[in-house]
Symmetry: C2
Subunit: 123 residues, 2 copies
DNA sequence: GTAACCGCTTTCCTTTGGGTAAGTAAGGAC
DNA sequence: GTCCTTACTTACCCAAAGGAAAGCGGTTAC
């Protein structure tokens, strides 16, 4: 039995697993982060988002927007113009994802580098 | 058009999106992190893992172990006992996930608290 | 022999995520 | 009246993920 002292212990792991899975559940899917990042830049209308997040269908975008609103990452605002215009904007709460995204981004980048290197070695 | 100055800008977002998606691709799935966390505590045999990660089927566990080995998170070690015993152990590289897991865990925890609170308000 | 255990693999089935395309209600342009 | 736009919804389809259960080759126990 080999125990790695540098890594977290049993209790810490089991406690955090639930948290991590909860976090991933929210962040997960092909489009959620793309939509959040799109709206963090500026608030936008449905068709604008669909144009900017290339490849997403209206069905999926509608679903993602509902999910994100339920999780309080974005707000749906209806302006009483004629006809009404509907804007989606990122909430302050979506800012709490900043450090999570930063960590994931840093890790993802170094991981891609590592994969590239190991592919060079093999060829 | 409302721009949130406290959040990252356009370039930063678009650059990091790819990295984040790469990271999520590796981490993703119902079982990967559970298996990693299980093996980080100590190296284990197939049946031990299957017992500890409750609910995983042998088919899925076998697949996850292969994936994790390919991505260099774990090593498959065969010991020449009779019969041979096969141990899986976490590599040093799986330690690089530590800060990612820490962030995800912290965020997931506070998010769950927040969801609980907003459910109390509604009821 | 027979049964059981280990480390899987195989088969079959269901669920989930997502894609395509069409439709629709409300309003505006011509 | 007819068509266009906006913000979706609906219906149908497909592929990948995952679950259940059985099988399998090798080995040990009795």
């Amino acid at each position: 039995m080999i125990v790695n002292e540098q890594l977290p212990g049993v209790e810490e792991c089991e406690g955090s697993l639930k948290n991590v899975l909860d976090a991933l559940y929210v962040i997960n899917g092909k489009w959620k982060l793309a939509v959040i990042l799109c709206l963090v830049q500026s608030s936008k209308r449905f068709n604008e988002i669909q144009h900017e997040v290339t490849g997403i269908s209206s069905k999926v975008l509608a679903k993602e927007l509902k999910d994100l609103e339920l999780n309080d990452f974005i707000t749906r605002k209806v302006y009483p113009t004629t006809p009404v215009s509907i804007f989606y904007e990122a909430t302050e709460y979506s800012g709490t994802l900043k450090s999570v995204i930063a960590e994931l981004s840093a890790w993802g980048e170094q991981h891609r580098e590592k994969v590239k290197q190991s592919m060079r070695k093999q060829s």
